[in-house]
C-alpha cells in the first residue's frame, strides 16, 4: 500500500509541476490544484498508513488509532487550498478580462524610474 500511495503522490507532483510550468493561467491553476492534492496526501501519509483504525475513540474497547494530527492539519489545508484556488481563479479571470490575454508571464518590460 505504501508503494501505491508514494507513487500516486509522485505522479501527482510531477503532473502538478509540469502544468505550473505552462504559459497560460488555466493549466497553472490546475497544476496548483494537483500540487495541493499531492501535498495534502503527503502530509496525511507522513502520519503513516493504518487501515481500519479511524481516530474516533471507541468507548467500549481498547483499540489502536491512526495519527489524528496529520488529518487535522490536512483538513484545514484542503479548505484553505480551496480558498487559494478561488482567489487565483478570480485573479486569472480578472487579468484575462483586463488584457484580453491569459498569458502568465509579463511581456512588456516597464522599468520603474525613480525620481
Amino acid at each position: 500500500m505504501e508503494l501505491l500511495v508514494a507513487s500516486a503522490i509522485g505522479v501527482m507532483t510531477a503532473v502538478g509541476i509540469y502544468l505550473i510550468l505552462r504559459q497560460r493561467t488555466f493549466p497553472v491553476i490546475v497544476g496548483l490544484a494537483m500540487l495541493s492534492y499531492a501535498v495534502n496526501v503527503f502530509i496525511f501519509a507522513s502520519g503513516r498508513i493504518k487501515i481500519g483504525f479511524p481516530p474516533i475513540l471507541n468507548k467500549y474497547a481498547e483499540t489502536s488509532y491512526t495519527d489524528p494530527l496529520t488529518q487535522a492539519l490536512v483538513l484545514t489545508a484542503i479548505v484553505i487550498s480551496f480558498g487559494m484556488t478561488a482567489v487565483i481563479v478570480m485573479m486569472a479571470l480578472g487579468s484575462f478580462l483586463e488584457t484580453g490575454d491569459d498569458r502568465i508571464d509579463m511581456t512588456d518590460k516597464t522599468d520603474g524610474e525613480d525620481a
Binding site: L4, Q71, T85, E98
Partner: protein, 959 residues
Amino acid sequence: MSLALIAALPFLGALLPGLMIRAGRNACAMTTGFVTALALLMLGLHAPAVLRGEVIQTRIEWLPGLGLNANFFLDGLGLLFAGLILGIGLLIILYARFYLSKSDPMGQFYTYLMLFQGAMVGIVLSDNILLLLVFWELTSLSSFLLIGYWKHLPEGRQGARMALTVTGAGGLAMIAGMLILGNIAGSYDLTVILQNKEAIQASEWYLPALILILLGAFTKSAQFPFHFWLPHAMAAPTPVSAYLHSATMVKAGLFLMARMWPVLAGTPEWFYIVATTGLVTMVLAAKIALFKDDLKALLAFSTVSHLGLITMLLGFGTKAAATVAMFHIINHATFKAALFMSAGIVDHEAHTRDIKRLGGLRHLMPVTFAIALIASLSMAGIPPLNGFLSKEMMLEETAHTVWAGSHWLMPVLATLGALFSVAYSFRFLAHTFLGPVRDDYPHKPHDPGFGMWAAPALLAALVVIIGLVPMTAAGWLVDAAAGAVTGEPVAAKIKHWHGLGSPALWMSVLAVGGGLMLLASHARLDAIWNATPRPEAKRIFDGIVEPLAALARRVTAISHDGSLTRYLAIATVTITALGYYAWATADHGTGTRALTPIQTVPAIGWFLLVVSSLALVAFHRNRLLTLVLVGVIGLMVSVGFAYMSAPDLALTQISVEVATVILLLLALNFLPKTTPVESSGGRKLRDGLIAAFGGTGVGVLIYALMTRDFAFPSIAEYHLANSYKEGGGTNVVNVILVDFRGYDTFGEITVLGIGAIVIYALTEALLRGGPANDRLLAWSPDQRRAGDRHPLMLVVATRLMLPVALIVGVYIFLRGHNMPGGGFIAGLVVAIALVMQYMASGFAWTQARQKIDYHALIGAGVLIAAATGIGAWFNGVPFLTSDFGYVNIWPLEEFELATAALFDLGVFLTVLGAVMLALASLSRIAIRAGETINVDAFDIHPENDGPRTEPATTTTEAR
C-alpha cells in the same frame, strides 16, 4: 507600566490626526497637542523622583529567548531628553498648525510627527539595547516620511532618501556594535551593560564595538564626514526642520554617546575618535555656515557645528566636560528651535529664505526680529544669554585639554570655531533684519499672527531666563542629566563671571572681535569662497549611490524579469537538487517498518488516479476535459482518505471537490476553452524532466518516510489520550481542530474569510468600469447555449433535495465532535445545497429568494469564534480554552454541551459565507456579461406547452 505608556502614547496618538482632520484643522492640531501634553504630564509626574536620584523602571517580557524585552527606565538623562522631545514637540505642533498651508494634508503631517516623536521617546526611555535599536530604526523611517513630506518637490524626496540612506546605514553598523556589546556584557539590558565598564573596555572587541556604535551615532548626529545629509534634509517643511534639528533626530546620536558614556568613554580611543571628530565638525561646519545664503542652510550647518561641539565635549571623557555637554544640549535646543521657527516665519511671510534678497525686516516684522535677535545673540555666545554660558564653559574645558601632546591645538581650534559661530550668527541677524527696508521682496512681509510666533517667543523667553538665572532655571536638570551620564553626583556651577584670569574670557573676547571683523569683510570672502572649487558632498553621494542602484537594477532585471515560469522552474530545480544532495550525502539504511498489504480495490483506485493524472498532461489543452479529469482525481483522493482511516478528510475533500469544479466551470465560461500550443519540443522535454525529477524526489521521500517509524515519539498520542478527557469529544480530528489547535483554526477561518472578501473586491474592481467591464458588456458567448438552461427535472430535484441537504448539514455539524463531521464539512455541504439552487434556477431568481448577506455570514462566523475564545477569559483561563459538560433533558438521551461547538459554529458560518461569496462573485460577472435574468424558476414552464412567450429580460446587474 506608565513608562511604557509614555513611549506608547505618541504611537497611539498617531492614529488620531487622520480621524480628527475631518473635524477641522484646529481639532486635529489640538488632539495631537493633547496627546503630547498628556505624555509630557506623565513624564512630569516622574520628575521629582528622578531628580531625587531614583531610577524608574518598567519591565515587560517580550521575547526573552532573544534577550529582547520591552524594558524602560527613566533617569536624569532620559528625563532631559524626553522633556525636550515632548516639550519642543508641543511647541512644534502649535507652530505647524499655523505654518502649514491649506493645501498641505495636515492629518498626515501630524501622524508622521507623532510616529517620529514616539520613536524618539522610545529611544531615550529604552532599557534594552535591542529595543533601543528598534526605536532607532523607527526614527530613520519616520524622519524619512517627515523630510519627504512635500512629495511633489524633488529636493524633498532626494533629501529624504539621502537622510534615510545615511542614517539607516549607520543604524545597521550600530546594530552590529550593540550586539557585540551585549555579548561582552552577557545581557542586552542597558542597566546591566552600564555596570560592566571594566569587562567591556578590557575586551578585544571593544574597539570594533566602539567604532560600529560611533558610526551609528555620527551618522545620526551628522558628524563629519557624514554631515552632508543634514542640509539636504532642509527641504522639509520648517516645523520638521525645527523639530528634527534642534531637539530630536540629530540629538539621538548625542544621546546615544551620552548613554554609553559610562562604559565606552575614558579610553584614548574614545578621546581621539570622538573629540577629534567633534572638533573637526564644529570648525568645518561653522565655516561653511558663514557662506550659506539660504537661511535654513545656514542654520543647518550651524546645527552641525553645535552638534560637533557637544560631541567634542562628550569625547573629552571628563565629568566636567560631560556636564557642559548636557547644559549645551538644553541651550542649543532652545535657541536653535526658535531660530528655525523665525526662519520659517520669514519664509512664510516674505516667500523667500535667500539672505541676499532679504534685509531691513526689522521695521516690517518687529516681533520676529525681537525673537531672532535674542536667539541669534545666544547662538553667537553673547552675555548674558544661555548660549554664552555654555560656550564659555566649553572654551574653559578645551583650555585644559591636551591633544597628542599639544596644549594649544584644542583651544585655538575651538576659539576659531566660536569665531565663525559669532560671524554667521551676526550675519543671520544683520543681513536679514538690519539695513534699509527694500522694495523688492517677493511678497510684502509683516509679522504673523500670535499663534505662529507664540512658540518661538516662548523659547526666546527661556533663552533669556536660563541666561539670567542659570542655576535656578536649568542647574537642577543639568545636575540630574550629567549625574546619569557620569554615574556620579554632579553639582554644576554655572556663572557669568569667572574672573579676569580665566582663559575662556579672553578666548570669548577674541571670538567676538574676530567674528565681527570677519562679518565686516564678508562680501570679499564670499567672492573668494565662491571662486574656490570644493568637493560637493551630494555629487559624491550620488556618485556612489547611482552605480549601486544601477547594479541592483541589472541584477533585478536578470533574476526578476516577470517570467513566472522561469522562477518556478529555477525554484523547483533548486529545491529538488538540494533534496537529492541531502539524500545522497546522508547515511541511511532501508526502511524497516512493515508494509501494509495491497488489496485489489485500492489498486484499481490507484490505477484510475494515475491514468487520469497522465491523461491530464496529455489532454490539458482541452480545458473542459481537464475539469473532468481533475474531478476523477479528486474523487480517488477522497476515496483513498476514506480507505486509509480518515473519514473526516474524505468528507471534506469530496465536498471541496464539488465546489472547486463549479468554481472552475464558472470561470471557464469566460476564459478560452483551449490552451494553444506554444511550447517547443525542447521546452516540453525540459519541463517534463523537471517534473519527473521533482515528482520522483517527492515520491521517494514519502516512501522512505512511510517505511520508517517515527524518529521521535509522536505527539499524536497526547491528543488521543486527552481528546475525551479534556476536549469532551471522541472524534479526535475534530477535537484537535476546535480545541487543542483552536487558535490555528481561528487563524485559518480568518484567512478564508479574507480570501473570499478579496474575491469580492476583485469583482468590484473589474465591474467598476475600464477594459474588463467594456469587454464584459460586449461579451458574446463563444459556445452554444442550451435551449433549456434551467430544466424542470433539475429544478424539481434540487428543490426536493434542499431541506434534506440542510438537515444533513445540521446533522453533520452536530455529530462532529464525536463522529466524522464538524463545522468545515457542514459548511461545505450546506454551501453546495445552496449552490445547487443557483444552478437550477439561476442567480437572480435564487438571490431574490434568500436574504442572507454573505459578508455578514463571514463576519458573524469569525466574531462568534472570537467571542467563544474571549469567553474563556471570563473564566480566568487563556484565550480559546474550551469547557464542556453533559446534560439530560427528557426525553432525549444524555448529550454534551461544549463551548467548542460554538466555536465550530463560527467555523461553519465562515466556510459557508466564504464559499458562497466566491461563487456569487463569479455569477455577478456572468450577469454583467449579459446573462439573462430569469423571472421564473424554469425556462420552459410545464403549464404552457412550449417556451415562454415573453422574452427573458436582458439587463445588467442592478446596483
